[in-house]
Amino acid sequence: MKRRALLPLALALGLAQALTLPGAAWAQQARPQLLRPGEELRGRFTQERRLQGFARPLRSAGDFLLLPGRGLIWRGQTPFASTLVITPGGILQLLDGREAMRLPAARAPGLGRFYEVLAGAMSGDPSQLGQVFNVDWQADAAQWRLLLTPLRGDDPALAGITAIQVSGARLVEAVEVRKANGDADLMLFSAQVAGPAAPDAAEQALLRQLAP
């Protein structure tokens, strides 16, 4: 059974923003903004999957909403409309507003771990991240870059990932995930707004559908 690589997503949409690093260098360096429970992050994404065996990359774009601790809503708009909801209860995919696939958390190895890493990092504790990855951090006054390489090559939650690179200024702007078979996924984020959590009724209904 194919495993879903969820960590890249976690990193793209929360971990890096939350990462705190020791040392006085913080004062001069660009650093990610912390996202706390009760807040939200909205923005637009473009994704490019460069897969072996395909003539061209699979490109998609849309918007997203991240509510730390509650879940993620990922709404693709091009090339076609689709909605994916990920919560601690599992994964739900909707097409034309109808349920196309539902995967309870029990069937997604690593989903619980994913939330633990996410929650740890959100609260400013990167130690969870360090249990899974080698963490390499570089930053100047305007930009930062984080390179993660798995500590264990066979971690089942990582599904063949060899490296994850996250970069940004205040918020995460780009995530690149590379796999052993040569595949790579690139995600770019823009028009991001962080603020108090204010999911509308439709978004709340989506999250409720996956209540554990």
Partner: protein, 755 residues
């Protein structure tokens, strides 16, 4: 004849004793299955087998949840305990983590046969002509954010149908999540690490229980909250309870009874001869029943022996005559009490014989056992006591006799009229107050008397893991595996409807894991018909250029399912090639479900707890009707002997029978089969007391009152003590006896002749 009779009786007793010894030597034929209590016609050997299979498979499993506010601590505790259990040798297998090898084994099992495997929703969509929707889902997965799918998967499963099939598999432990490789469930700030194990040995064996108790005492960490369930824990609690109660209650009642009889008579004879009469009764009854029924049910033995308890009253009635100065010889003593004993025996026999009218083997065995035993005890008293009893009349006890006669005066003297009415009014008021709270209860789980602490933990584990113990299932019978799978495929859509209507929470059936060969062929044809024509355009649009690697057409067969790992539970549902079980989880409306599957050939709904509860309910109602009938049957006999005064003889016992259940209800007791059985005993004993009081003369009255008092106290000491039991059924029986016998004793002298 009079000289010969004791010897004839000895010959019969010896014959019975020899036969009993012979049968005991060959291993006692005791039946303990609840199913054996069902009327013969309702029994079905295959359903029996299925129930046994489900029960034993469940009995060896234990489930623990280790909870802690910090997830890593909970996980570590679970991991450590799992390793210790594995190393202890007490269990055959432990499941605490996502078995990566087993998961990959699952993939390896299904992947080659993917051509014929479709999720039910996909099948429905394709049948409804919604192939584009299935195709769009595959596309959305590929374009989605979770990085799902690559060339390798797409070449083998272009429409991503197998992942959908996997997602729809109803694997157990639906609420458990895999966390760092371990199975956990998180709720309300707590993380629970899951652990389930299969015991290596029988959980009902005492040494196994002791070994586990020691293991858990040594290995459960103090800082985590532990929830546990499994037959092992219930059995351990039950065995502990039973041993403790048997030793304390049994010792107290035995010592107190012997002390009382010794204190009153100041002689050993009455004790020894009472035990002899009881012993002969039990032995002859057991021998007769084993000969007549070929085997005996433990329930019948238990209740039969209880009903035989009446026999001790005959001995006490006889020995109380020792205090009567006018009865100098054993023969005179017997002559005095014999009419009372005979009428008492006759009414009791009527009471017990009516149980024979029920078409239930259990009640019939109880009736035959107690009737034969009672007659044997009576014959022992009547034929042997005059021979064996060598003692002269007793000279002490004048003050005792005067005191116990006060009980009779309460119901006779004009100046106590006010007190009499007050007692009656109080009893009736208590009965009336209890009537509104009186409830019948046949739930077998309540009757088994499971400790509430363990029941709560079980409910909590079921809620947290989403894994209800399935006490209901469909039994599918067909000629072979293929036919059995097809029958399930015919029922599954109906069950899906029922699930949508909230009648049940879920189904686990072999056909969901291995579709029939016919269904797999149908699925492959359906994909070829509806999706294949769209394939070229779809892959071209994606820009997919790698060569496709189609699956083989060989169907997956049920024999390929592994016996262990995540699919072991499915394999266990296939009893033999053509006999399969479909487990029903979280059933809320059994009647509606029964209706739904009615008329599907070869499919039968079986509900363990409900069937047993229904059985207990039937037994309870039967016992109550037979009780009423036996009162009616006693009337002619009593009327022949006492004329219009028969109602006075019957009234104390009938009042006791009517008032005991509502008064017990005031103490929170429900009305069950066990209470009904206690009432049968209350009626018989109550009528005996009244008969003894009616038969006595004014001169002999104090002696009779002493006999009745001793009888009542010994009955309360043996049966009433059971009210202190923690085992529900025993407690219910004891409480009813306590209240019923108390009332019957209190009112008995009202049946006496007026001076």
């Amino acid at each position: 004849m009079r000289r010969l009779a004791p010897w004839l009786w000895l010959a019969v007793v010896l014959l019975a004793g020899g036969y009993l010894g012979l049968r005991l030597h060959g291993g006692l034929a005791l039946q303990s299955s609840v199913l054996a209590l069902l009327p013969r016609a309702e029994r079905d050997s295959l359903a029996d087998l299925a129930q046994q299979r489900v029960a034993t498979a469940g009995a060896r499993r234990i489930v623990l949840l280790l909870g802690h506010a910090e997830a890593p601590r909970a996980r570590a505790a679970g991991r450590t305990l799992a390793a210790a259990l594995q190393a202890s040798g007490l269990v055959r297998g432990v499941t605490a983590s996502v078995d990566q090898a087993a998961r990959e084994g699952l993939g390896a099992l299904y992947f080659p046969h993917r051509a014929g495997l479709l999720a039910e929703a996909d099948r429905a969509a394709l049948l409804a002509g919604q192939a584009p929707a299935v195709l769009e889902r595959a596309r959305a997965l590929l374009f989605g954010p979770a990085g799902f799918g690559d060339a390798g998967l797409l070449a083998r499963d272009p429409f991503l149908l197998l992942p959908a099939f996997f997602a729809a598999l109803p694997l157990p432990q639906s609420r458990l999540a895999a966390d760092d490789g371990q199975l956990v469930v998180q709720e309300g700030g707590m993380t629970w690490a899951f652990l389930s194990a299969e015991l290596a040995e029988d959980p009902f064996a005492l040494p196994v229980q002791d070994a586990f108790e020691a293991f858990f005492a040594a290995h459960l960490p103090a800082d985590v909250t532990v929830l546990r369930t499994g037959a092992l824990f219930y059995a351990t609690a039950g065995a502990r309870q039973a041993m403790q109660e048997t030793s304390t209650l049994g010792t107290v009642s035995m010592v107190a009874t012997v002390a009382m009889v010794l204190l009153v008579f100041r002689r050993l004879g009455p004790i020894l001869l009472s035990v002899l009469a009881m012993g002969v009764g039990v032995a002859v009854a057991a021998a007769f029943c084993l000969w007549w029924f070929a085997e005996m049910h433990t329930v019948a033995l238990l209740f039969g022996a209880s009903l035989l308890g009446v026999a001790v009253d005959y001995s006490l009635e006889y020995f109380a005559s020792l205090f009567h100065p006018e009865a100098a010889t054993p023969a005179e003593r017997l002559r005095e009490v014999l009419p009372g004993l005979a009428i008492g025996l006759a009414t009791t026999l009527i009471g017990y014989l009516t149980l024979l009218l029920a078409p239930f083997p259990g009640l019939q065995q109880i009736a035959v056992f107690s009737v034969v035993g009672l007659v044997a005890s009576f014959l022992t008293v009547a034929l042997w006591y005059p021979v064996l009893d060598r003692g002269g009349p007793l000279r002490h006890g004048r003050r005792l006799l005067a005191a116990v006669d006060g009980h009779a005066r309460l119901w006779e003297a004009p100046r106590w009229r006010g007190a009499r009415l007050a007692v009656l009014a109080l009893l009736l008021a208590a009965g009336a107050a209890g009537l509104p709270v009186l409830r019948a209860d046949d739930n077998v789980q309540n009757l088994q008397g499971m400790p509430p602490g363990l029941k709560r933990q079980e409910a909590e584990i079921q809620r947290l893991t989403g894994n209800g113990g399935a006490a209901q299932f469909l039994l599918v019978r067909a000629a072979d595996a293929e036919a059995a799978l097809q029958a399930q495929e015919a029922v599954l859509p109906r069950l899906a409807q029922a699930e949508a209507r909230g009648l049940l929470a879920g189904v686990q059936a072999p056909a969901q894991f291995v579709p029939s060969v016919a269904r797999q062929r149908e699925n492959a044809a359906l994909v070829a018909r509806s999706l294949a024509p769209l394939q070229a355009a779809y892959l071209a649009e994606l820009g997919f250029t790698a060569p496709l690697q189609p699956a083989s057409a060989a169907p997956l067969l049920p024999s390929a399912l592994p016996a262990d790992g995540p699919l072991g539970v499915v394999r266990a549902l296939m009893l033999d090639a053509g006999t399969h079980l479909m487990l029903l989880h979280g059933v809320t409306d059994l009647a509606a479900l029964r209706h739904l599957v009615q008329g599907v050939p070869g499919v039968q709904l079986v509900s363990l707890a409900d069937d047993w509860s229904a059985l207990f309910g039937t037994y309870r109602r039967q016992a109550v009707w037979l009780l009423a009938l036996s009162v009616l049957l006693m009337l002619p006999l009593l009327a022949w002997r006492y004329g219009w005064a028969a109602w006075r003889v019957l009234a104390p016992a009938v009042l006791a029978v009517l008032l005991a259940p509502p008064i017990c209800a005031l103490f929170g007791l429900t009305f069950t089969f066990f209470n009904a059985m206690a009432l049968v005993l209350v009626l018989s004993i109550g009528v005996d007391y009244a008969v003894f009081c009616r038969e006595t003369t004014l001169a002999r009255r104090p002696v009779t009152m002493l006999a009745v008092l001793l009888a009542a106290v010994s009955t309360l000491l043996s049966f009433g003590m059971l009210a202190a039991s923690q085992v529900f059924a025993v407690h219910a029986f004891g409480m009813t006896m306590l209240v019923g016998i108390g009332i019957a004793f209190l009112l008995a002298p009202a049946a006496g002749r007026r001076a």
